[in-house]
């Protein structure tokens, strides 16, 4: 899902690590042996009654080859070994992006360039839809780019709540129940995420007085507008309120996108099939964001794209700007809870000028205007309602959700496993890999790990919803809003066009 948001633009993500590539292998290997003891008591053993009957062949289809293929192939292999007589075919659509690795000043740098391929996505959706409408298609469908809402409406997906409730081998309490419960829409649960993530805010503790900072914490939730208004009260013209730019062409990672998501339910009502872009709220929102940039509260737009080589210079040390607040994702949470000098993982994105981060503290998790704290996911699957092998597809999905897979090394490195025990053990092995190359943690590191898991669980507890977004609407909004921020269209024109287009789309 994150990948869906990071679209329409080339994104260069660079993982900088001193010997990260080599140590990752060694670290993970020892991490595996460390968790093997608990793996033996894996909580997700399949139902005894069903084990003997698990046989047959299924196909799993996905668009995003980079995220899914290796993971699914390895999982399929393990599944086939565990259940002889089964065969799991993996069918990935997109081209694998090129991964470049080079050495610079003793550092191994991996660079992955992801080209947005909207035509490829459209082709995949078209192909999948056509096959599904003929009553065929893959048994298990990755919900990476497929239009979930449309598929549910046309009865293409099986209701997984029935499987969850009726299968004695599936225990909801082993997972983040608040996330599973938040997936219900159209009277059913149509897909299950294997992992989850969330956005949160930090504040610069040197710019906030104690009285103001007392309202922040990992157990709090804020909208970006709340923080913006709070920031205005302490803004002195020196440091900007947010590091997030007003607008970004890629349609994500900017303040407009954040605020649009916060009000998504107001602008688009999927139940009543109505669009509300012309009632003044949307116009007020885009004008508000534009004014914030013009008055210097936030940067106007995202920084220019940088070459992977240039990114090596983008380190904590050479940042000079301070911001009152920053919007961050899970990747930053490790740095948030452990600021020691030996942390070897640094993540930089080409357009993320975050400024000085050493004094950042957690302000709270991101929430929308309706009080919904949503989550995102890297991988999620639904079962084809017309599959002839729904039971086997469910068994494989259950296997993907099991401790065995969820805690395995190399999985969900950029997100959190939805399995509770796997999530805790993965955090531990990740800390060991990053801080000790797989060795034991010292007391400080253990405290840091505890702080990390506490923050993760506290913020995860706040999650209470999931907004089923529509990529067609998202594309319409991104295109029109670009005209507005480029000065090519007025707010009224944009509102009118969006009202017409989205209204038409919803009314079809």
């Amino acid at each position: 899902m994150k990948r869906m948001i990071m679209k329409r633009i080339k994104i260069t993500a660079v993982l900088l690590s001193l010997g990260f590539i080599t140590s990752a292998c060694g670290g993970n290997a020892s991490g595996t042996s460390g968790t093997a003891g608990t793996a033996g008591t894996a909580p997700d053993e399949p139902a005894e009654t069903g084990t003997d009957q698990i046989a047959g062949e299924i196909t799993v289809a996905c668009y995003d080859t980079m995220s899914y293929q290796t993971f699914l192939e390895e999982a399929a292999k393990l599944f086939e070994e565990k259940y002889p007589g089964t065969k799991v075919n993996i069918d990935c659509f997109s081209e694998m992006p090129e991964i470049k690795t080079f050495e610079q000043d003793g550092m191994y740098i991996s660079s992955i360039q992801i080209e947005d391929d909207s035509q490829g996505r459209a082709d995949y959706i078209s192909k999948t839809s056509t096959v599904l409408m003929s009553g065929q298609g893959a048994d298990l469908l990755a919900m990476d780019v497929l239009p979930v809402y449309k598929y549910v409406e046309s009865g293409q997906l099986a209701d997984l709540s029935e499987y969850m409730n009726q299968d004695p081998g599936f225990n909801k309490s082993d997972y983040r129940e608040n996330i599973l419960n938040s997936l219900t829409f159209q009277n059913g649960t149509w897909f299950l995420p294997l992992d989850y993530g969330f956005d949160y805010y930090t504040y610069d503790s040197t710019l906030m007085e104690e009285q103001q900072s007392s309202q922040f914490g990992a157990n709090q939730a804020f909208t970006s507008k709340q923080l913006m208004e709070l920031g205005k009260t302490v803004f002195d013209g020196t440091n900007r309120i947010f590091s997030t730019p007003a607008y970004s062409q890629k349609g994500g990672g900017d303040l407009f996108s954040l605020m649009f998501r916060e009000n998504y339910r107001h602008f688009i009502n999927m139940d009543t099939k109505t669009a509300n872009f012309d009632d003044g709220e949307f116009k007020a929102l885009i004008n508000y964001v534009k004014e914030l940039a013009e008055e210097g509260y936030i940067p106007k737009r995202a920084g220019k794209m940088m070459n992977p080589e240039d990114l090596t210079t983008l380190t904590v040390d050479n940042q000079t700007n301070r911001f009152l607040f920053k919007a961050k994702n899970l990747l930053s949470l490790i740095q948030q809870t452990y600021t020691g000098p030996d942390l070897k993982l640094m993540i930089a994105t080409s357009n993320a000028e975050k400024g000085i981060e050493t004094d950042d503290e957690i302000a709270g998790i991101w929430s929308d205007e309706a009080g919904i704290v949503p989550f995102s996911y890297e991988q999620a699957f639904g079962i084809n309602a017309n599959s002839q092998n729904k039971e086997l597809a469910w068994e494989f999905l259950k296997f993907l959700l099991s401790y065995e897979i969820q805690a395995s090394p190399g999985t969900f490195d950029l997100s959190l496993p939805i399995h509770n025990e796997a999530r805790r053990d993965k955090a531990k092995s990740m800390y060991r890999m990053l801080l000790t190359d797989g060795g034991e943690l010292d007391q400080t590191q253990k405290e840091s790990l505890q702080a990390y898991t506490d923050a993760v669980e506290m913020m995860s507890d706040r999650i209470n919803g999931y907004t089923v977004k529509d990529t067609t609407i998202q594309d319409m909004v991104t295109q029109e809003i670009g005209y507005f921020f480029d000065g090519n269209k007025t707010a009224d024109e944009v509102c009118q066009v969006l009202q017409n287009k989205v209204g038409l789309y919803l009314n079809e």
């Binding site: 839809s129 599904l132 409408m133 046309s154 067609t472 090519n488 269209k489 066009v497 038409l504 009314n507």
Partner: protein, 282 residues
């Protein structure tokens, strides 16, 4: 031998008819079943509910209205302009073929190239707005305002003008010159001659042109779709947009219902025009 001769026509017709039946007629009737079910896969029969729902669907009604409006404006306009140019071409003593050929060029330009050209011309940051900027005028939202309808009519006319001209030129060439000579000798004025001789004798051709223009008016969707995508401005959202989007959103029952209605209306209309043409010819 006589028997074989009797069936020769049928034999010649067979290859074309087979293709038409296999690729058009058979799939149409095969998919027609969806129009009476609630969903495409494992659907249940629900009578005419889809047809009733279709006529209360706002998007369909908008597409239907725009399509009718487009046909009402573009088809007579296209016919009138084509007839005018045909008369001009007929009157030319030199370079008549070259004149006609110029209007046929749009027919051989691939749709993709044509869409690129129109898009470059009419997009918000396109050539036309660039020229307006040079003149100190503000930009016009050609494709995302009510002006888009005029753009669609222009594209249709530009694309089909040459084809209709050729049909009219053929029709004009079949009018015996004797009629015109007799009229001139009787002191007929050009306007009178056009009203009393040219127009009545062009009626069979005009009916054929009307049928062809009607059919071609549905084909303008391809260019409009390439330029403005699935969800264009309200004024140029046609029935083809609706049906194309129904396919994309997997709503096959609604798609086939809309198709069935459209095919029935076009078939009835074409039959009516053909009857008229037969009467006019006789």
């Amino acid at each position: 031998m006589k028997k074989l001769y009797k069936h020769t026509g049928l034999l010649f017709l067979l290859p074309g008819l087979s293709g038409f039946t296999i690729f058009y007629v058979w799939p149409f009737f095969l998919s027609l079943g969806y129009a009476f079910t609630d969903k495409a896969v494992n659907g249940t029969f629900q009578g005419f509910k889809n047809f009733i729902d279709l006529f209360s669907n706002k998007a369909y009604l908008k597409g239907l209205f725009n399509t009718c409006k487009f046909i009402a404006v573009s088809v007579p306009l296209n016919m009138g302009v084509a007839l005018g140019f045909s008369l001009m071409a007929k009157g030319l003593k030199k370079h008549r073929d070259l004149f006609t050929l110029v209007f046929l060029i749009p027919l051989v330009i691939p749709s993709g190239s044509m869409a690129f050209f129109w898009s470059s011309l009419f997009s918000y940051n396109g050539v036309l707005n660039g020229w307006l900027g040079l003149l100190g005028l503000g930009k016009v939202n050609w494709l995302d305002s009510n002006i888009a309808f005029a753009v669609m009519v222009l594209i249709f006319t530009w694309k089909n003008l040459g084809y209709i001209m050729v049909l009219y030129l053929d029709g004009l060439s079949q009018i015996p010159l004797d009629y015109y000579e007799a009229s001139w000798m009787d002191g007929g004025k050009p306007g009178q001659i056009f009203r009393s001789i040219t127009l009545p004798l062009l009626l069979p051709t005009s009916i054929l042109v009307l049928i062809m223009s009607l059919i071609n008016s549905f084909k303008v969707f391809r260019e409009i779709y390439m330029i403005t995508g699935n969800y264009p401005h309200d004024s140029i959202y046609t029935l083809q947009h609706f049906m194309n989007n129904m396919f994309a959103s997997l709503n096959y029952p609604r798609l086939t219902t809309a198709t069935a209605v459209l095919v029935t209306v076009i078939a009835c209309f074409a039959q009516l025009l053909l009857n008229l043409e037969r009467k006019a010819s006789s």
